[in-house]
Subunit: 315 residues, 2 copies
């Protein structure tokens, strides 16, 4: 797709991926609502296939390719959930996934890709090396590159989490998501714009990867002043496509510290009894930080994933 997805394209994406993904549950907690002073509906993408919402976007992008393109395989560079999403999608269409990963990627991530039959191609841990290695894969195999977020088919896929949330929970006033590269946030904002135009979309971003809030202000893809955060899924900058959508349809981006992220993450583990990764707690941390703003409202929060190293918990 070469344009911002329309409502019907998002709905088509949803139909397309439905057989391959989970319709994830929405959880609530009376004690969290009491503490937060509003009604929160958590859309649990930590229960999604591969443990993260990324399964939606990767699946839609791969299913949207022509049979000829699919046959030659799919490639991407990622050390995170998008790598597994592409490997899963390649299985769904019976093709190969070539995943470029930095040589220092944790074994747990490599094993996740291998378990889904993905072929790992290691490279130096720099963006340049990643991109040139992907280029080599493309030249060798003819595989199609699927960008983790700056891709309209991926964005349409990520939007389907919000389509499900809005279809299930009525009268939401606010919908929240974290922002890294902005694929999920773009999709969330688009779906909300089309289906619930009076609701606000508000993002959370870590203080230690605060690029999106800058880009949001200047209108250019900015780098973060510094990168140091526990929310390791949110370290990337926006892309031109995600920036445009976010500038148009997102109301605000709230910055939170790692301490606030860890406290919010712990609350969700304790009260909802679910495992979420730190990146995932960012919008809830933002809500708790600016409680007054959300007082008495009905708030949907996309919980993005649950792939966390249990041996390295921050509490």
């Amino acid at each position: 797709m070469n344009h911002i997805p329309t409502l019907s394209e998002i709905q088509e994406a949803h139909e397309r991926i439905k057989p391959f993904i989970h319709h994830t549950p929405v959880l609530t907690s009376a004690s969290i609502n009491q503490l937060a002073g509003c009604e929160i509906y958590f859309k649990c993408e930590n229960f999604q296939k591969i443990g993260a919402f990324k399964a939606r976007g990767g699946m839609n992008a791969v299913l949207s390719l022509s049979p000829e393109e699919q046959e030659k395989g799919i490639t991407t560079h990622s050390s995170g959930n998008h790598a597994q999403a592409i490997a899963l999608a390649a299985i769904a269409v019976g093709t190969k996934a070539y995943i470029v990963m930095p040589s220092n990627a944790p074994n747990i991530k490599k094993n996740g890709v291998k378990a889904l039959n993905g072929e790992i191609i290691e490279c130096e841990p720099t963006l340049e090396a990643r991109e040139s290695t992907v280029q080599q894969v493309i030249e060798r195999t003819g595989a199609t590159f699927v960008h983790p977020f700056n891709n309209y088919d991926v964005i349409a896929g990520q939007a389907t989490a919000t389509v499900e949330l809005i279809g299930e929970v009525t009268h939401l006033d606010v919908i929240m998501a974290p922002v890294g590269g902005g694929g999920l946030l773009s999709g969330t904002a688009l779906a909300t714009h089309y289906l619930l135009p009076n609701a606000e979309v508000i993002a959370g971003e870590p203080e230690g990867a605060a690029d999106a809030v800058l880009s949001f202000q200047t209108g250019k893809v900015e780098k973060a002043p510094y990168i140091k955060t526990i929310a390791d899924g949110l370290m990337t900058t926006l892309g031109d496509k995600t920036l445009e959508i976010i500038r148009k349809y997102v109301k605000d981006i709230i910055i939170v510290s790692d301490e606030e992220i860890i406290a919010a993450m712990k609350l969700i583990w304790e009260r909802l009894k679910i495992v979420i990764e730190p990146s995932c707690a960012v919008p809830f941390a933002a809500l708790l930080k600016e409680k007054e703003r959300f007082k008495g409202k009905r708030v949907g929060i996309i919980l993005t994933g649950g792939n966390v190293d249990l041996g390295k918990l921050p509490f």
Copy 2:
């Protein structure tokens, strides 16, 4: 109730407590099924009110009292989930809960009871002190004592988790639960006996609190050879009521080590993305230990609770 609950008494218990408890979800995981070689349906009582199945039994026992009894209050001795269950049930009928707790009970447990308006009466950390302190409460207030497990109304309440599971998942071959005092296991066995008489009920018990497996053999309430296990919810011996039901309707009790419990717990956290307490992982550990026995079967497992100190995880 002064007799083993009948099917209709269990069904009445279910109707009685429904407005006050959650109908908890059943979760599955393709990767866990692959690894275990069977199909497992996890009944997630970690999502229950107060974070544990105990809400069911406590609620049923308290709701079954006469208005005169309810008015005088409820008492129990417990430093665990049953304390919160009774406090919650007391709120439901608008009465007082007097919870006798050992003076060395962790603050997190005390705070849980206080948050539910329970009155804590501290005593020395011995069973004798607990019982005599409860006796004093009864003499002073006229409150009714609700035993954590050796009580038919409590057992009928715990049985309702299995009623829901069997109502939702067809053709189960085996239903599994952990065994501590045996309230949950008795309820599970009764509900299965009435509703799915061809299914087997198999329990898991920690090696470091292996009293039930002995009692199961001898027919008397036996003590464990030694007590040392991470499964802190399963340290008590059976009661006469639970022993009788378990001897009649349970097929087998499988013993597992703490290492096996921790490995099973970690797998559930990683794959199902949910928070469960160690006691809760015991039946799944038992299944993994005797995989061949469960091969290709449809197995329901009651996940009992998710109240775990995140600061003291075993991995």
